[in-house]
């Protein structure tokens, strides 16, 4: 979950579940002579500056839990593999091959020969992977952020070394889509010798500094000395909050590999230096891309046309955004009761909103409408199964009137509640961004047209999370005792027991990753009654969301998974636990001198620093 502003700069060919729409300005720039113009040197000797408005965390490979850090570490370490975009399938990196057995229960891996850690830590081989799974990824001391992905259906995946460069994973149940959720494709193991000699997690004594911090603070990690020949670049400097500069790794193993994407990485990377710069102020990044001080920047949807109009700038757009955005509805006891009680009321609210206009006017058309917890481009989207609710003010009033209990009635266009007053809806949004303000105004007008009085509140993102999303029985004066099930994350208990600190009815500003090819975990977290991120208090009633997800995830064929998920997405489109709005495009602006931008063929088509180059002198 993250703020809804502009698309993330995240390597989507990797499998880390990305957040929906973090503010991100990715800027790649030409070198500069200091006065704002590109140096006119050779084509490849200029510095590539990639700007972003999000700083990374530390360079501990075990720490990856956010997009910014992942993007930075991606310059230093390749990881096991990525998902190819055409056709969709495995593309090797450290792992030469990946193969799922016919019964979808066993994965066979082959580690590429010749992979060497830096700083004298030896070879990266099958033993490295299996040892890391057992002693690092699954250990308590490492707190690996993706450790939960090493289990399937609650049971651990068993890993077994079968040769110097080969090993297998035995899945406790069938997983036809395991390619899209295999943690070893993006996991970054540590050298066994490094952990044993420098960290000593099994020494039995309590360290003054937690082991995980010892890793992060070790010179070989902070300076990325362990890179060896494993990544396209080596580290020159890193300041977490402001910049990172890397230089071409002349020993990069992939430069000599002819088995990957028909030798597309021969002699890669083409760039000599690559720098991440953090811009707190987006307008500075836009000015910098225009002036040539930087070469690439992520662009907000509503600014695309303006930036694309610049002579020396080219805009790359992927319509396969992985973040979906919606207007959250409060089904809990401190929300307007008919929202949680009546599907008809929720459908009425959906009819009140013209998402087409919202996308056109606020996002300048640079987003896709969505109708369920899945983008329209997603592999499990089915027109036949999905129900849509077009903008229709009259129909909205009819459904709201029909769905509200006795005592509610329309009077001169206003919805009057049993107290004889116009019904007020409490709208909360992250208004620290201009997009939040614009959406707030749009929705307020839409709801006022169908008879509501709308009370709006703007809050910073952090406060939105802590005050409105987090909920507990302690906030409910009408409830005493323990909730019916243990609180988990952002679900403090059943909707009639656990409520947020402040009441609300509709909320905007949080978006979610669809994880389109393996969506079960994301949906389970938000849309199941006991899901750890069901801050909505949503309960699907008779429909077994969790059971459907289990069936889809555990399917042994893609067809079986598709059938289950089509049914689920159809249900969510009709039941409207939230008001579905849009799925952002991903927009990046580059200086025209940049070559190697990928053709957008699928969700997995992504800009890769390994393939970028300068094709001509900028003027």
């Amino acid at each position: 979950m993250s703020r809804d502003t502009s698309p993330p700069a995240v390597s989507r060919r990797r499998l880390l579940a990305a957040l929906a729409a973090g503010v991100s300005i990715s800027v790649a720039g030409c070198g500069s002579d200091g006065n704002g113009t590109d140096t006119g040197g050779g084509s490849d000797d200029r510095e590539f500056i990639h700007g972003t408005n999000t700083g990374g965390q530390d360079l501990n490979p075990l720490s990856i839990g956010d997009e910014a850090t992942e993007a930075r570490l991606n310059l230093l370490y390749d990881g096991g593999g990525v998902v190819d975009d055409d056709p969709v399938g495995f593309q090797g990196r450290w792992l030469r091959s990946w193969e799922l057995s016919d019964d979808a229960r066993t994965v066979s891996y082959e580690v590429r020969d010749g992979l060497e850690w830096g700083a004298g830590y030896g070879a990266l081989d099958a033993e490295t992977y299996v040892w890391n799974v057992r002693n690092v990824f699954r250990s308590g001391w490492a707190s690996w952020a993706q450790s939960s992905f090493l289990s399937v259906g609650g049971d651990p995946i068993e890993y077994e070394r079968t040769g110097e460069l080969t090993f297998e994973a035995h899945l406790p149940q069938s997983r036809a889509n395991f390619l899209h959720e295999d943690p070893l494709l993006y996991a970054l193991p540590l050298p066994k010798e490094f952990v044993q000699s420098e960290i000593e997690p099994d020494a039995g004594t309590t360290p003054s500094t937690p082991y995980r911090q010892q890793v992060a603070r070790h010179e070989d990690i902070r300076n990325a000395n362990i890179v060896g020949n494993l990544g396209p670049f080596t580290l020159e400097s890193y300041e977490a909050g402001s910049r990172m500069t890397v230089a071409r790794n002349d020993d990069y193993y992939l430069a000599d590999a002819d088995d990957v994407d028909d030798g597309a990485f021969a002699d890669s990377p083409a760039l000599e230096r690559y720098t991440y710069r953090v811009f707190d102020e987006q307008s500075t990044a836009y000015s910098a891309i225009r002036s040539g001080d930087i070469t690439q920047t992520g662009v907000e949807a509503r600014r695309k046309a303006e930036i694309a109009g610049e002579d020396d700038v080219t805009v790359w757009t992927s319509t396969y955004g992985d973040g979906i955005n919606w207007i959250s509805l409060n089904h809990r006891a401190n929300g307007w009761a008919p929202i949680g009680d009546s599907r008809e009321v929720r459908q009425g609210l959906a009819h009140a909103l013209d998402t087409g206009t919202l996308i056109e006017e606020i996002f300048d058309g640079n987003a896709n409408p969505i109708d369920t917890f899945h983008p329209r481009w997603g592999p499990y989207y089915s027109d036949e199964a999905i129900e849509t609710f077009g903008a229709d003010t009259e129909l909205a009033r009819q459904k709201i009137a029909a769905g509200t209990p006795d005592g509610y009635e329309y009077d001169d266009g206003a919805l009057i509640n049993p107290d004889g007053e116009q019904q007020t809806l409490r709208w909360v949004a992250d208004t620290t961004t201009q997009t939040g303000d614009l959406v707030t105004n749009f929705v307020r007008q839409s709801l006022e047209e169908v008879g509501f009085d709308v009370e709006t509140t703007g809050r910073p993102f952090g406060e939105l999370v802590s005050t409105y999303l987090r909920n507990s029985v302690d906030n409910n004066p009408d409830f005493e005792g323990e909730p019916d099930y243990p609180p988990r994350g952002y679900n403090g208990g059943p909707a009639d027991q656990s409520v947020s600190a402040e009441p609300w009815d509709l909320l905007y500003g949080v978006g979610f990753s669809t994880a389109a090819y393996a969506p079960w975990q994301a949906i389970r977290g938000v849309m199941t009654e006991k899901g750890s991120f069901n801050f909505l208090g949503y309960d699907a009633g008779e429909y077994d969301v969790a059971g459907t997800l289990d069936a889809a995830a555990g399917a042994s064929t893609g067809e079986a998974a598709t059938a289950e998920l089509e049914e689920l997405f159809g249900f969510l489109s009709r039941d409207l636990p939230v008001l579905w709005t849009h799925n952002n495009h991903r927009i990046e602006a580059f200086r025209r001198s940049v070559g190697g931008l990928p053709e957008v063929r699928s969700f997995f088509s992504d800009v890769d620093p390994r393939r970028l180059s300068f094709t001509r002198t900028d003027t």
């Binding site: 500075t284 002036s291 910073p460 994350g489 979610f512 750890s532």
Partner: protein, 336 residues
């Protein structure tokens, strides 16, 4: 002897004041809500990870899971032993983080201060002795505009005009490209180069503008008090030149209150102005470090950076008190 005793008392007071300020900052930080843990948990949950684990990791990484008194004692001990600990937001020792940052801030803050003092005091004095003339009105107008323009807006406009528009603009056939400066700060450019000087022009201008304006207003107001004073009239009657009257009689006495204001100005420029300027020009200096530390709940770094303005204020006050003796012969520490 009086001066030494006075100075010793002031230094002792400075130590107490520093301790109070640091303790107060610690307490305020400790009491303030930390949405970071919530956000970390929310992000973990959205990715299908354990929010509880994410929250625990967040707190443990920052040492925030320890009792408050342990955190406080740790900090106070580290202040006195100069072991300022580890910055979790920068993942390096606090001393290293400060060492990498201060130079970037000094590069534009010192010139900005110098410009604001020289130009501000100069124009202020000139307009004071030429009160109600066209120059006075122009000076006052410029001062009010300088005070009124928000720094962040001025910076963005300067970047657009100078960094982008001047690149291609021509006036009467003359290209404005030479007046075009970098849109953001590049720390990799060598310090003592023309390129570095050029990239510092815009941040220095922005920072100096508001400061110049306020220095101008203060110095004009102070100087006006003495322009018609008896001792100035006497000097004029004795045939002193206008320059001598201005510098030796008016300015010297006016400097006593102005030097008091100067300390406040330095702090304002360094720790308020620099945050805005460094954000907009992407300068990895102290202001940005401070903001990153606050955002990242990097208690260790926040507390150490808080020491800087405190020390500057205390030392500045001490120095200005000592300077009073030199500036105004009527002040003596002998009796204190």
């Amino acid at each position: 002897m009086g001066l030494k005793r006075y100075a010793a008392r002031r230094v002792a007071w400075a130590a107490v004041a520093t301790w109070v300020a640091v303790s107060a900052t610690f307490v305020l930080l400790w009491l303030s809500p930390d949405p970071g843990a919530d956000v970390a948990a929310a992000e973990a949950a959205a990715q299908g990870l354990s929010p509880e684990q994410a929250q625990e990791r967040y707190l443990a990484a920052r040492g925030l899971d320890r009792p408050a008194h342990v955190q406080y004692l740790d900090f106070v001990t580290s202040v006195f032993t100069l072991d300022w600990g580890w910055s979790v937001s920068q993942n390096e020792p606090v001393m290293e983080a400060l060492g990498e940052s201060w130079g970037h801030t000094v590069q534009y803050a010192v010139p900005a201060m110098a410009v604001s003092v020289v130009v501000g005091y100069g124009v202020g004095l000139y307009t004071a002795v030429n009160q109600h003339t066209a120059a006075d009105y122009v000076g006052s107008f410029v001062a009010y505009v300088g005070i009124s323009i928000p720094n962040f807006w001025f910076a963005i406009v300067l970047i657009l005009v100078s960094g982008v528009w001047f690149q291609d603009a021509t006036v009467l056939g003359i290209s404005l490209e030479p007046l075009s400066f970098r849109t953001f700060y590049d720390p990799s450019i060598d310090t003592f180069t023309v390129a570095n000087a050029r990239q510092l022009v815009l941040p220095t201008t922005v920072l100096a503008t508001a400061s110049v304006a306020s220095q101008m207003r203060y110095s004009r107001a102070e100087a006006l008090e003495y322009v018609a004073a008896d001792f100035v009239r006497t000097a004029r009657a004795k045939g002193a030149s206008g320059w001598r009257i201005l510098t030796r009689h008016v300015f010297r006495v006016a400097l006593v209150p102005l030097s008091t204001i100067l300390v406040v100005q330095v702090l304002t420029v360094l720790f308020a102005g620099s945050i805005v300027v460094e954000q907009i020009f992407a300068i990895p200096g102290l202001g940005r470090l401070y903001l990153d530390a606050i955002r990242g709940n990097d208690t260790q770094l926040v507390l150490v950076i808080t020491l800087f303005p405190v020390v500057i204020a205390i030392l500045g006050n001490l120095l200005q008190d000592l300077a009073y003796v030199i500036l105004d012969p009527r002040i003596d520490y002998g009796d204190r």
